[in-house]
Symmetry: none
Subunit: 236 residues, 2 copies
DNA sequence: TCCATACTTCGGTTAATATCGAACTATGAA
DNA sequence: TTCATAGTTCGATATTAACCGAAGTATGGA
C-alpha cells in the first residue's frame, strides 16, 4: 500500500541539519541571500548552493534575483506551518534540552527580526501606526501617508534617505509567534535604530530578545498612544 | 547560529521512504504489528525492526506489547498533525506523478485523520458548524458557542468529559487534499466515534477512506442542514 | 576594459545509513 | 519438551549524498 511516498521527499529535504537551519531562520519571514544562509548553516557557499537548489526544486523555497544577489524565502505559509508542526514534535519527547521559560517569554514579547522589531511589541506598534493613519498596509508592504511622513520626520527619521536605499522601503514581515504582519524593510530597521538611540529599548546580550525600558513605555504612550500595560507578560 | 537542529532529527526520521510509508498507514489511528508494517513498507522484518526502533527512539511511535506481538501506533496527535502538514507540502509543486485512481477519490471525499474526520466531508461539516453558529474558528482552534453546547449535547456528546482530557479540545487541523481547516482534537474524535455509532459513516477495510451511508446522508441533512449532493464525487 | 563579488557547476572523497543474511531471544501451542 | 512464529541484534555490503576545492558564469562598479 505505497500510500504517500511523497511526504518522504519533503521530510528528507527538511531532515538535513544544514537545510533545517536555513529553513528555521527563514521562518521569520525575511528573505536572505545564499551567502548569508551558507554562513547561518555553517557550510561553504557551494554546498549551500546545492542545498538551496534542492529546496527550491522541492518547492520549499522561492527565490528572487536582485542584481547579483539571490534572495531566498519560504515558498509559502504552508511550509512555515509544516516546520512549526515539526518543531512541536521536537519539543515533545524526552527532556533533551528544553530551552528555559523566561527568555522564551521575552522573545515572544519583543525581539529582533533580522534588523527590525518583531514579537508582540513589533506587531502592536505596526498596528498602532496603521490606526493612527501613518501607514496603509497591503499584502506585501506598507505605504507611508502624509500624516506618517510628518510623524516619522518629527521622530527623527530621514525618509528621503531611506527611500534611496536599494532594499525595500517598508516591507510587511510575517511574525511567527504572533502570526501577524509587522513593519520591516528600511523603515522598520531605521525605527529600530532610533528606538535604541532614544533608549526606549535595549537588546539583551547575545540573544534576539529585546527589553522595553521605562522611558520607552512612557515614550510609546506619549508619541503613539500605545498602552504598554495591554501588552502583557514580558513588558516590565 | 545553530537555531533549531532539533527539527532536522524528526524530519530525517520521516524522510526515509520505508518509514514514511509506515507512518502514513498509521495515520488512520490503528495500531499495527511490526511484521505488518514491514510488509506495508516493502522491507524485510529485520530492516523494519531497525526503522521502528528509531521511530520509537524519536518519539514518533509508541509501542505496546501483547503476547509475542508488538503493536505500533503514532505516539500522539501531534505526530499526525506534522504528517498532515508534510502531505500538504507534497501536494504543492509541479505535477510530478499524481496518482488519481478511484481510491484517491474516496480518500479525498472522506477519510480518517488519525482519529477524526477529514477530507471534503470533514471540511464541509466543520464549515456547517461554523455557519450554524455552533463553532467559532480562530487560527489554531475552535470555540464551542452556547448554541453549539446544546446541539452537540443533543447529539450525544459529553462536552464536559471531553474538556477534562489532557489533549486539546477542538483543534483546527489542516487537510492536505482540501487545504482547509477542519475540526480535530477531542471534540473531533468524539464526533467521529458518534458518527460511527449511529451508522452514518463506515470505515473502508484497510484504508483511511470513509464511506457515508444513506442514513448518514439523511442524518446530516436533518440534524445539520447539510446537502450531501453538493459534496460531489464519492458521496454515493 | 578590468576587477571584485555572488553564485553556480563539476569531480572526487568521505561519512552515513538502508539493506539483508544469519543468528539470537521470547512467546505460544502441541 | 519441541516446534513455530514474532521480533530482535549483529555484521557485511552497497548506495546515497553531504562536503569542499577548483573552475566556471553573471552582475556591478571603477
Amino acid at each position: 500500500m505505497k500510500c504517500n511516498p511523497y511526504i518522504a521527499e519533503s521530510a528528507a529535504l527538511i531532515g538535513d541539519p544544514a537545510r533545517a537551519g536555513m529553513l528555521s531562520v527563514l521562518m521569520d519571514g525575511q528573505a536572505r541571500t545564499a551567502t548569508e544562509l551558507a554562513h547561518i548553516a555553517g557550510v561553504s557557499p557551494q554546498t549551500a548552493s546545492g542545498h538551496l537548489a534542492k529546496l527550491r526544486e522541492g518547492n520549499l523555497l522561492a527565490v528572487e534575483r536582485q542584481g547579483r544577489h539571490r534572495y531566498y524565502r519560504l515558498a509559502s505559509e504552508k511550509v512555515a506551518q509544516a516546520l512549526e508542526a515539526l518543531m512541536v514534535l521536537s519539543r515533545d519527547g524526552p527532556p533533551r534540552f528544553r530551552p528555559p521559560g523566561p527568555r522564551d517569554a521575552q522573545m515572544r514579547f519583543a525581539r529582533t527580526c533580522y534588523d527590525h522589531l518583531a514579537g508582540r511589541l513589533g506587531v502592536t506598534l505596526t498596528d498602532a501606526f496603521v490606526d493612527l493613519g501613518y501607514l496603509i498596509g497591503s499584502a506585501e508592504e506598507f505605504t507611508v501617508t502624509a500624516a506618517g511622513e510628518i510623524a516619522f520626520d518629527k521622530f527623527g527619521l530621514d525618509l528621503k534617505e531611506l527611500r534611496r536605499r536599494k532594499r525595500s522601503f517598508a516591507r510587511r514581515c510575517l511574525d511567527w509567534s504572533e502570526r501577524r504582519g509587522h513593519l520591516g524593510g528600511a523603515l522598520g530597521a531605521a525605527l529600530f535604530i532610533q528606538f535604541q538611540k532614544t533608549g526606549w529599548i535595549k537588546r539583551q546580550n547575545d540573544t534576539r530578545a529585546v527589553r522595553l525600558t521605562r522611558a520607552g513605555a512612557h515614550g510609546l504612550a506619549q508619541e503613539f498612544g500605545i498602552d504598554v500595560k495591554l501588552l502583557g507578560d514580558g513588558a516590565a
